[in-house]
Symmetry: C2
Subunit: 335 residues, 2 copies
């Protein structure tokens, strides 16, 4: 069974994900699988949305953060935690730390959405801003961890985090069993791949015939290229997409092997398609989705993932978006 010491090097198993689900049950929301009859008509297939914007802190990241923090031994909790994040992991760690009575320092890029920075502070996190292009968040995180005796909570290369995100997969399988649904594919937005790896491990046991598809912003498709080449490929840019949550330069060391083993395939969508998909999610699912949370939906709606006559699940991973950008999306036609 997973321990604090194993988190940095271990790939979690299904038992670790079930243990995470037990830990999360009193604290996290079991998010619904949403469906629009009218959108299904237009697509000629069946599309279901796992609604993680409704999760505590507005994204799936709360799951992994809470599970990981729960594994920190009692004697190290006073030192607190430190995390680097563009915003959703930040909020997840800050909220989980507050619930567990631990201090949290969060290192955030200075171009993160204002709402994400404000909310991280509101959850009680101490925010340290850095420049995404000229500074290394990993170096800043390691320094603060050493200075304060804090535990560094990585956003994806950590078995406790991956196991927490994997609870999304268990819930998808449960909802499908309850509703008699047998999905052909699950589309998961990826940055470092913690959520995609966790869901892949969970579905391998519960829905083994379901294809895993990763979705990324166009021009930042390091995971799609890594899945094709079989090794870690990197993005050549560090910024320039509206999908602020999906800016990791390359897949994680723990996550890529899981995705390669599952023969996952990668798709992408450009900013304009993502904006229009945000409008569609607003219109057809009554759900607020942020750009990084809508990439998979955008890829499906723009024909990158076959859906005619099929059943496809898209994980809408978060909903933390600034109001001005959201208004811009509603001014565009839905997809």
């Amino acid at each position: 069974m997973l321990t604090d010491a194993l988190c940095a090097t271990h790939i979690p198993g299904i038992a670790d994900i079930h243990a995470a689900a037990d830990r999360l049950r009193p604290y996290a929301l079991r998010t619904p699988l949403l469906e629009s009859l009218l959108l299904n008509d237009r697509l000629g297939g069946r599309l279901l949305i796992k609604a993680e914007p409704l999760q505590r802190t507005g994204s799936f990241k709360f799951r992994g953060a809470f599970n990981r923090l729960s594994l920190i031994p009692a004697e190290r909790r006073a030192g607190g935690v430190v995390a680097f994040s563009s915003g959703n992991h930040a909020q997840g760690v800050a909220a989980a730390a507050r619930m567990l009575g631990m201090p949290a320092v969060i290192i955030m890029p200075d171009d993160a959405p204002a709402m994400k920075i404000a909310n991280t502070r509101a959850y009680g996190g101490e925010v340290v801003l850095f420049n995404r292009v000229t500074e290394s968040r990993e170096a800043i995180g390691a320094r603060i961890a050493a200075e304060r005796g804090a535990t560094l909570v990585k956003p994806y290369d950590d078995a406790g985090v991956i196991a927490g995100q994997g609870t999304i997969g268990l819930e998808i399988a449960d909802s499908c069993a309850e509703q008699g649904i047998c999905p052909d594919a699950v589309v998961v937005n990826v940055s470092g791949g913690g959520m995609a790896a966790g869901i892949t491990i969970a579905l391998a046991e519960t829905l083994p015939s379901c294809q895993i598809i990763t979705s990324e912003p166009a021009g930042f498709d390091d995971t799609a290229r890594s899945l094709q080449s079989g090794r870690h490929e990197r993005n050549d840019k560090a910024s320039g997409s509206i999908c602020d949550a999906l800016m990791a330069a390359t897949p994680g060391d723990l996550t890529l092997p899981v995705l390669l083993d599952a023969k996952a395939q990668g798709v992408s969508a450009d900013d304009m398609t993502v904006k229009r998909a945000i409008h569609t999610a607003w219109q057809d699912f009554k759900l607020v989705v942020e750009p990084g949370g809508a990439v998979g939906l955008a890829a499906i709606l723009s024909g990158k993932v076959p859906i005619t006559g099929r059943t496809v699940i898209a994980v809408a991973s978060g909903g933390n978006i600034d109001a001005d950008l959201f208004r811009d999306c509603l001014a565009l036609p839905p997809l």
Copy 2:
């Protein structure tokens, strides 16, 4: 047990609501109870939102419509159904009729939101438009029912509809039991009062200490005044609020006695407060709520319902709003 013939005159009991829940289980979504830690901090209390915009057709109305249509005997189903509605009951009836293989004629005001009219047609409903001020929707409905041998499905003065809406109350009680929550009050948006009556009957059995509060648009507070006087009071205007879903002139004959018996109290909110509450629901719950669905939330956020140190549940009843109006709401500050 409730039958088609009893629906026009009967007040449903808890057994009728349980029967409705059984009928709805394979078709309706069990909507989540949402909570925002940051909003709770700001309020100094605990606010939970029953998220009916996520329900099939974007509002709670699907519940009552599907349950009522299920009670129509086989020999009368070919004649179909006819309903009058500003849009949410319309979509609920059209979608339920399609699922049950029945034709549906929907009589809608010509000033209903474009999305509601378009969606009613997309679900397969035949839409007949009327003028809200100069024509009687009841008369048009009765005429079409007679001509076609169709069953008239009233929006609230019907025991089958009330029982269907009451399933919201059962789900609220279940969610509260799972999470160990004991709510002080439930705030329910009212027009004719079908949802409020159904929830009241359900909670009387499951959460008997919970206060029932009805919420209405300012200037259209016929229910609040009726609850004070003990008899049917009427609105003196038939239009002029952005809350298009809450325009019934007076409470229902079946619904008001239920609310009076429960000693329900009424509150209201003006259009500007409702718009800002829509922004809050977008920001803190990642949920799209229409004006009529946000009145209760608006009343709570503007201090009309005490929440400091208390636990209050607001039913967000629907999310069918046009994009231009939603953009206007996001341009205002949240409440």
